[in-house]
């Protein structure tokens, strides 16, 4: 019974904590205080509910108890001010508490506020909006619990010191602030998707968490095309999860993946999400363009049978919108499929001359691949070895070294 209640409370917290904490931040204007009070209420619940049973509306119960905690701490620490009185008057209605979706949105914008470092934004988003415990976040990021704990404490302090208001951004800063929310969610996803370290199941949990946050965002902001596009991008990439790592742990390249193992219902969902973004008729942003590229891959029957011409065009549009050497490199790969490896090699060489991606194994790896296709085996070997020496991850380094020996 006790374990059952514990699991039910954990589930409730996952589903309701953003609403509860959001309500409390709106009332107190203090993320740290709100979260501490909510955690205290949760401990009370774990003590009382196994004995007295679950209340009729558990989330309202938690909110009411947390409010009382806030009042207690205020009455200890400062004179009764207006805010205290308003909150106190609000208490008798505690059990009629209804979640306000906008509180979750405000919480998301607060957790991703630009005064915080990206690392802090990620941890705080998972904690406040995702309802994950510090232990769970540490496990997902292969970090120690004290490291994450400290990061969260410091982030809450920074928000307090900067007096960050609990609100959705003004129109003038909307685009940049939304961009920050999208970037945080996508970073959580890529951390789970791209990292080859750690337990594979754990990493897919992280990607799933990002998808959940992304879908949540589209529910809250149904008129934002880039929110739908981000979900599309994540669904389309995640659909390849099962096919992209060999049983030995070695990464499998797109060209060699068994497409039957892609998750086709996930592809269907991704395509539908991109259609929703497009249907809003406000043009394609960087996430929509990346999702459109992912869709070309996801819906191609084979690697050779991919619409590479379209992919080149999409990369060009992306490069105009958000110039990035990785995009140029990917574009070169697509060009090699349309115009041949020689044309692509010239583009990669120009990129190399610009000094971009100097410390990444990606550029020499692509160069090596193109040289190999041109029959220039010795040069290809040298480039694969150069790429291997830049690789940071063991599985990747092994794969590159193997190619260099051919």
């Amino acid at each position: 019974m006790g374990g059952g209640i514990r699991r039910s409370v954990d589930a409730l917290w996952r589903v309701e904590s953003a609403h509860i904490v959001g309500t409390l931040v709106r009332m107190t204007g203090d993320v740290g205080l709100a979260e501490d009070a909510a955690q205290d209420a949760l401990l009370d619940a774990l003590r009382q509910w196994p004995v007295e049973g679950m209340p009729r509306n558990p989330a309202a119960w938690l909110t009411a108890v947390a409010k009382r905690r806030v009042l207690d701490s205020w009455s200890r620490s400062r004179a009764l001010d207006d805010r205290y009185r308003r909150l106190a008057e609000d208490l008798p209605d505690g059990h009629d508490w209804q979640p306000i979706p906008d509180d979750v949105l405000r919480l998301l914008f607060t957790a991703c506020h630009p005064v915080l470092t990206r690392e802090a934004q990620v941890a705080l988003t998972l904690r406040l909006v995702g309802g994950l415990t510090t232990e769970a976040i540490a496990r997902l990021f292969l970090a120690s619990v004290p490291t994450i704990q400290q990061r969260i404490v410091r982030a809450k302090k920074t928000l307090g010191e900067a007096r960050v208001p609990f609100e959705t951004p003004e129109p003038a800063e909307w685009k940049a602030r939304l961009g920050s929310v999208l970037a945080v969610i996508y970073l959580i996803f890529t951390e789970g998707y791209a990292a080859t370290g750690g337990d594979r199941l754990i990493r897919s949990d992280l990607a799933e968490e990002a998808l959940r946050l992304g879908r949540m965002l589209t529910g809250l902001l149904p008129r934002e095309p880039e929110a739908h596009a981000l979900v599309a991008l994540m669904e389309l990439q995640a659909s390849r999860f099962a096919a992209r790592v060999a049983p030995t742990g070695a990464p499998i390249l797109l060209a060699d993946q068994d497409r039957r193992r892609w998750d086709h219902s996930q592809i269907t969902r991704g395509v539908a999400a991109l259609d929703r973004a497009d249907a809003l008729g406000r043009g394609r942003g960087p996430y929509a363009l990346q999702a459109a590229i992912a869709r070309c891959h996801a819906t191609a029957p084979t690697f050779a049978d991919t619409d590479w011409g379209r992919i080149v065009t999409l990369y060009e549009a992306l490069s105009q919108l958000a110039p990035n050497p990785i995009v140029d490199l990917n574009r070169a790969v697509a060009v090699s499929m349309v115009e041949g490896p020689d044309v692509a090699l010239a583009a990669v060489d120009r990129l190399a001359e610009s000094g971009a991606l100097r410390h990444s194994p990606l550029l020499p790896a692509v160069r090596a691949e193109l040289l190999a296709r041109l029959g220039r085996g010795d040069e290809a070997s040298r480039e694969f070895a150069a790429a291997a020496s830049l690789a940071t991850n063991v599985a990747q380094r092994e794969a590159l070294l193997q190619r260099s020996r051919r």
Binding site: D10, A11, L211, R212, G214, R215, M216, G219, L220, W262
Partner: protein
């Protein structure tokens, strides 16, 4: 992990539902679906028609299989709708399922949707790979 919430109603449950004002039913279900969407857990869901003209049953007890109108007659509980949700635990699936606005005579059967990890030991089985291939084709992506 994914769960399927399978809605089943007896005649009594369906009658009770029909007696309710249509607006009220739509509003309650709409609010439930909205909660699922806003929580980022809803993957799919639909209601199933119960008009006799649209439905039939294929029984494989005989060869060739026998097609009959249905699924009426001795059906005690009609399967009349479903949701597929993606959640992080069985307890979370239970939480969502118990929030569904259904009344007496209605039940939700909640089943975890299998994924490849359920068959990890057989990943190299040709039959299983074939099945995945067919699934891929039927979904026509």
């Amino acid at each position: 992990m994914k769960y399927m919430l399978i809605m089943r109603s007896t005649d009594e449950g369906r009658k009770a539902y029909e007696a309710m004002p249509f607006e009220q039913v739509i509003e309650a279900m709409g609010a439930y679906n909205e909660q699922l969407v806003n929580a980022g857990v809803l993957l799919a869901g639909d209601g199933l028609a119960d008009s006799m003209a649209d439905n039939f049953v294929v029984d494989f007890s005989a060869q060739p299989p026998v097609v009959t109108d249905g699924p009426y007659g001795e059906t005690h509980e009609l399967f009349n709708g479903f949701w597929i949700i993606e959640v992080s635990s069985k307890a979370e699936a239970e939480l969502w399922a118990t929030r569904c606005p259904l009344g007496p005579g209605s039940k939700l059967e909640v089943r975890r949707v299998t994924d490849m990890s359920d068959f990890a030991d057989f990943a190299d089985s040709p039959a299983l790979q074939k099945q995945e291939e067919l699934r891929a084709r039927s979904e026509g992506a």
